[in-house]
Symmetry: C2
Subunit: 247 residues, 2 copies
Amino acid sequence: MRHAARPTLGILGGMGPLATADFYRRLVQRTPAGSDQAHLPVLMWADPAVPDRTAALLGEGPSPVPALVEGARWLQRAGVSCIAVPCNTAHAYVEQLSRATGVEVLDMIRAALEAAARRAPGLERVGVLATRGTRLTGLYERAGAGLGLAVVQVPDPVQKEYVDAAIRAVKRGGDPAGPEQWIAEAAGTLKEQGAQAVVAACTEIPLISGAASRVLPLVDSTDALAEAAVARLWKPTAPVRTGVRSG
Amino acid sequence: MRHAARPTLGILGGMGPLATADFYRRLVQRTPAGSDQAHLPVLMWADPAVPDRTAALLGEGPSPVPALVEGARWLQRAGVSCIAVPCNTAHAYVEQLSRATGVEVLDMIRAALEAAARRAPGLERVGVLATRGTRLTGLYERAGAGLGLAVVQVPDPVQKEYVDAAIRAVKRGGDPAGPEQWIAEAAGTLKEQGAQAVVAACTEIPLISGAASRVLPLVDSTDALAEAAVARLWKPTAPVRTGVRSG
């Protein structure tokens, strides 16, 4: 690719792989391109063996930082303009990645909260459905404070029995009906605490958030990151070559 | 990634981008992994500006070969074990890519026909829904001959008014209801010619093949490529680290 002329998005993915595939699909769908050729060039590094982020943040597993830095450096050397990391929990490490590479890493957390504020005008209290790792980092609380938003989390037993269990179920594959209902229950506990909207703040959750979106206005962190990438990199171009053809 | 220890799949994609995202999703879904960490590592080069393959094959546009070779070399240097090209028409060039890089390129055409033979036992005549470029290359006819299968194509007016139009519509985005019906009509003309099964032989078609699959047993070339990649690279591994966690 001619990077100088064409901004290229780097995707540091694989956490998990299905969420990464979902992110790439949403990126394509949200790009207002009229032909294949007008879409963003993408380079993707997806190593599902990056150590579990939540386990590391809980002090129960190895750090994912060496693997993430390896991936980010690889994208940097390939000449990407900026990097999207479609994993909320991994945002605990994005400042390190940005420092290690000098490449901008898009802020999925801020993008998701800004999308929630657009979705629910007058928003003051926003619920977050996230991994225990993301909760521990306080990423949403800090970003919310910067935007004047109070962030509400689910009670601990709900985290464990509904949210954690649902995320695990998606990563494992299988019937999504049960997990979808658990996420709706969890959204109900956020509503009881006064949340006016909810952020699906783990990239597995949008895959099972249909029922929850009938409980509260729901914003999808994967979508928000895709929109941020398009806003950052995509520009309309003149039609290229012979126009849209097939194959 | 530790390539020596862990076979890595290279995806040479972007033709089109939505089909590439669909391929990656199917790859993940067809991998019998019990956790994120057990999935295949993937490196993806997706440059949607690769010149249109059909236009090149019709002599109406520039060759996609230089761009494809650039992408394949880049994947080779990154150490991938083999390359998947989720675009049927681009298979006109895969021998060149393989020679230029020394890296195995998975054969989507053969994989799709073999999947059709498994899907319809006793298969002798198989219909193919493809771009004009793929038809021109005779890729399916040659691979079919090697497997003892007669390949049937739709009549020219059906190609132009239904198949080409439907593929264009998917690449453009928008309501898929019309294109899905056109593909079903095209499948009907294959059935009239004695086809006992049909291959959705353009990676855009599986996105709109629901109605056609009620006309004839339908095999999806994207799925067949995903299955070929899993069969070629994936091996069960011992559970890693602390098991499946979240985020």
